[in-house]
């Protein structure tokens, strides 16, 4: 009887020690230091907030502490990644089971996780879905107002029709959002990167990333050049090299659905010598040369697009050291990253502004009119998808 009691007590103590150790996981964070960025989720992590009476009464302290606890807890990234992966597997299994009973269910969009879909049972590709963007008319109008008030410059728009603005079930209606966005702007020229249905879309975009692939961005560059300088001959088409790197893009990273069997393809071009200034410092943009020589990270969730062609900066300045070819202001999202230099090669100086990061770099909000005057800009181009114009629609953890 005595030994049974002892065994029970030992069991209980063991349980309590394990439980206490797990309950105290968070209290190690101040000693180990807080993490800033999640590489796998490609987002900034919440940090422990400072307590004040105001923040407590408004509830923001409580909300921020909960977010920080989730982000900073030991092993949280790995656990989140595992849970998302497991959920994606369960969902795929469930969908396959349903389709076994009713194969016709494969048609149309199949949700992978909230906001992300497979189309027509294509297990290799992840897409988004057309949303009700028209509700953001006031945001788009506000964005357009400062652009339309510019004087003495040529104004252009190049809009990217990706899966966010396309209903593949209704390809005939694929330019609706582009037409709607264009209606806000007063322009010297505009064009749209269009796809003719799902199969055509697949030619131009990565399987699991929202960006255009090497064929897509080269096509985009030629169309942009035709818009800005129709008399000039495009650079390229350059050399294509399929690397060994498997590319799990933003959609795969967000949904934790590593379904890509796509190898990352790089495309290089012969350009005249130029200098690049990144957020005010001279440097090199991207790691294209390393990719061409077979040196790239092998982690399955590597963002090869940003790693190879260059990441997002508040301001990038390209100087080709020429005169008389004009000065371009390119307001763009990450879609421009692989073609910044290509476009810039047709101008003396090109300034690329990413509105999402400009303020944190410059310490002040972007003032379009003042910027154009200060840098003697003669051409302004807006280049991006719907999120350039309606940034409020960015989903948490999403990438624009």
């Amino acid at each position: 009887m005595g030994s049974m009691k002892k065994q029970k007590k030992a069991l209980q103590i063991c349980f309590l020690i394990l439980s206490a150790a797990s309950l105290l996981l968070f209290w190690l964070v101040p000693f180990l230091g807080q993490k800033d960025v999640s590489e796998t989720e490609n987002r900034t992590l919440a940090r422990l907030p400072a307590l004040s009476a105001g923040s407590f009464l408004s509830g923001s302290f409580q909300d921020d502490l909960e977010k920080a606890a989730g982000d900073q807890l030991l092993f949280s990234e790995e656990v989140r990644s595992f849970v998302k992966g497991a959920q994606a597997s369960v969902l795929t299994g469930g969908q396959n089971l349903l389709c076994r009973f009713n194969p016709s269910l494969r048609s149309g969009y199949t949700q992978i996780t909230e906001g992300y879909f497979a189309y027509q049972g294509d297990e290799h590709r992840i897409v988004e879905k057309l949303q009700d963007y028209e509700a953001g008319a006031s945001e788009a109008a506000a964005f357009a107002a400062s652009f339309n008030s510019l004087e003495g410059v040529k104004r252009y728009l190049y809009f990217i029709n990706n899966s966010r603005v396309t209903d593949f079930d209704r390809p005939e209606d694929s330019n609706r959002i582009y037409d709607w966005i264009r209606s806000f702007f007063s322009l010297d020229g505009a064009a749209c990167f269009a796809s003719d249905g799902y199969e055509d879309y697949c030619r131009w975009f990565y399987q699991t990333d929202h960006h255009w692939n090497d064929q897509g961005f080269y096509r985009g560059y030629t169309e942009i050049l035709n818009l800005l300088k129709p008399d000039e001959t495009p650079v390229g088409p350059g050399d294509r090299l399929e690397t060994d790197a498997v590319f799990n893009g933003s959609y795969a990273r967000i949904t934790k659905s590593l379904r890509a069997d796509e190898h990352f393809v790089v495309r290089s071009f012969d350009l005249p010598k130029y200098t690049v200034t990144l957020n005010g410092k001279r440097g090199t943009y991207g790691k294209l040369k390393a990719y061409l020589s077979g040196r790239f990270p092998s982690e399955p969730l590597t963002n090869h697009y940003a790693n190879c062609y260059g990441g997002d900066y508040g301001e990038i300045v390209y100087d080709f050291g020429t005169e008389g070819r004009g000065r371009l202001l390119l307001i763009a999202s990450s879609y421009s990253n692989p073609i910044n230099a290509l476009i810039a090669s047709h101008f003396d100086e090109t300034r690329v502004i990413d509105l999402r990061y400009y303020e944190s770099y410059a310490g002040q909000a972007f003032d379009l009119s003042a910027y154009v005057k200060a840098h003697d800009i003669d051409t302004v181009l807006l280049l991006g998808d719907i999120r350039l114009f309606l940034p409020g629609g960015d989903a948490e953890g999403g990438e624009a």
Binding site: M4, Q7, K8, K9, L11, Q12, I13, F15, L16, L18, S19, S22, L23, L24, L25, F26, W27, F56, L57, G59, Q62, L65, E66, A69, G70, L73, S76, V79, R80, F82, V83, K84, Q87, V90, L91, G94, Q95, L98, C99, F101, N102, L105, G108, Y109, T110, Q111, I112, T113, E114
Partner: protein, 464 residues
């Protein structure tokens, strides 16, 4: 703050346990519990904590007044009832009352947008149990303000029950002991409760929400799946919360009353309500039904008493006509069982009675979950059309609804008392005890993983 938040699990709970067990003496321990409970409440309702403090002071003085001035105790009781029921009436029902008047009589009275203080329905009922028991002399007035404040504010059962009557914990407020066994049992009960909430209720909620909140009416098959998942959600959500509350109470040396006893195996509606939210049924029986005359009266009066109790039960759950209908639905079913069916039920095989009772409860949950009477009508017209085609397509297009369905069989299995059967079959088994603790720990780890991976984490009973 909710028990299933990371802030509670990794910051609040370790801190309160640390201070509670570091400080010696019952007064210090009560002070720790009271202080942390106020922080717990203020976390979500920084301003309404003042309402709670006012309520503690008033009811403390009322209790003392009743003891000191017995001739004035009726007046003091009325004062306490006006304050406590007035507060709940204003915060919970004033908006509903005005909007109902507007729609019934085409008036244009201004709509009230008042935030509901969290858990007001629970702590008001606890306070009422104290003042009414003192009034009837069933318990002595609490002279120690800290003890009464600890009882009213105690965070484990403050916001979602169980409704612990003062009499239940009166002695433990002044003297209690926590053994290793108490603490282990309490912690493992807490982990099981957390698992019920995070691993099952939250998942079932995704299916139920996808069905009940769908813009277009889903096919009948999906509607019934949604209703079934909601029945699972509300059971695991609420009983999980009760398990966590009871478990934490045990960790602090309190023994709260049980709140659930496998309600989905009930073999009659009467039996169902003996097993579901037991503390609420007991409260209404003690403080409303019996004072009205209970069943020791004529048939008409008994039916009246039951209808009043069930109307109030419905309204307690929410200020909406669907809750009124839900309460009356149960009132009528119970009247039918007691006055019409009588002994007929006992002649039906138990398994059939259990299935019929579950279906009646399921129908009740459809009323309960519907946002309005119009939405209820729409749901029922769809559900009873029995048009099952399109169910697969609905699930395919709603990943939120498809993947959690994997857990539905586990959820149904968990509604059956097989653990109780195992304990009876192998009494005192060490292997079973070890397995139980191992399961509790694994469920805790899985719950944390799920909490980190998910953001969907509401508690249904916070609305009440």
């Amino acid at each position: 703050m909710v028990f299933s938040s990371l802030t509670f699990l990794f910051i609040f709970l370790p801190l309160v346990l640390l201070f509670y067990f570091l400080l010696p003496g019952i007064r210090a321990k009560n002070a720790v519990l009271c202080l942390f409970s106020l922080v717990f409440y203020a976390w979500g309702e920084p301003v309404y904590v003042l309402l709670m403090i006012a309520s503690i002071l008033l009811n403390y003085l009322v209790g003392l007044g009743m003891a000191r001035f017995p001739v004035r105790k009726k007046g003091l009781l009325v004062l306490a009832l006006i304050f406590n029921l007035g507060a709940i009436g204003y915060f919970k029902y004033a908006g509903f009352f005005l909007s109902s008047l507007n729609s019934l009589f085409s008036l244009h009275l201004p709509a009230l947008q008042i935030a509901l203080p969290i858990g007001i329905s629970f702590y008001t009922f606890q306070i009422l149990s104290y003042v009414i028991d003192v009034y009837h002399g069933r318990t002595a007035a609490q002279k120690n303000l800290l003890s009464l404040a600890t009882y009213i504010t105690m965070f484990p059962q403050l916001v979602a029950g169980p409704i612990v009557r003062y009499e239940t914990v009166r002695e433990e407020l002044s003297a209690r002991h926590v053994s290793l066994n108490d603490f282990t049992e309490g912690l493992s009960r807490f982990f099981f409760g957390l698992g019920k909430k995070v691993l099952i209720a939250n998942q079932m909620a995704l299916v139920a929400d996808a069905v009940f909140d769908a813009a277009a009416l889903p096919p009948a098959g999906a509607l019934w799946i949604g209703a079934l998942c909601y029945a699972m959600q509300i059971y695991y959500d609420f009983s999980g919360y009760s398990d966590m509350a009871i478990g934490m109470g045990r960790m602090f040396g309190f023994h709260f009353t049980e709140n659930f006893n496998y309600p989905y195996i009930a073999d009659s509606v009467t039996d169902f309500w003996r097993r579901w939210h037991i503390s609420l049924s007991a409260w209404f029986r003690e403080y409303v039904y019996i004072p009205l005359g209970g069943n020791r009266c004529g048939t008409a009066r008994h039916i009246f008493n039951m209808l009043v109790v069930w109307l109030l039960t419905g309204l307690w759950h929410g200020a909406a006509w669907t809750f009124v209908l839900w309460g009356l639905y149960y009132g009528l079913l119970l009247i039918l069982e007691k006055h019409v069916l009588g002994n007929v039920l006992s002649r039906i095989p138990k398994a059939v009675r259990q299935i019929v009772t579950f279906l009646l409860a399921l129908f009740g949950w459809i009323i309960f979950r519907s946002e309005s009477l119009a939405a209820l009508g729409r749901f029922l017209s769809g559900a009873f059309s029995f048009g099952f085609s399109g169910t697969g397509a609905f699930l395919m297009s709603n990943s939120n609804a498809l993947s959690p369905l994997v857990l539905l069989p586990a959820a149904i299995l968990g509604c059956l008392p097989w653990t109780r059967w195992l304990e009876k079959r192998f009494p005192g088994s060490r292997a079973l005890a070890a397995l139980r603790l191992a399961c509790a720990f694994l469920i805790w780890l899985a719950s944390i993983a799920m909490l980190l991976g998910e953001s969907y984490n509401p508690f249904i009973y916070f609305r009440f």
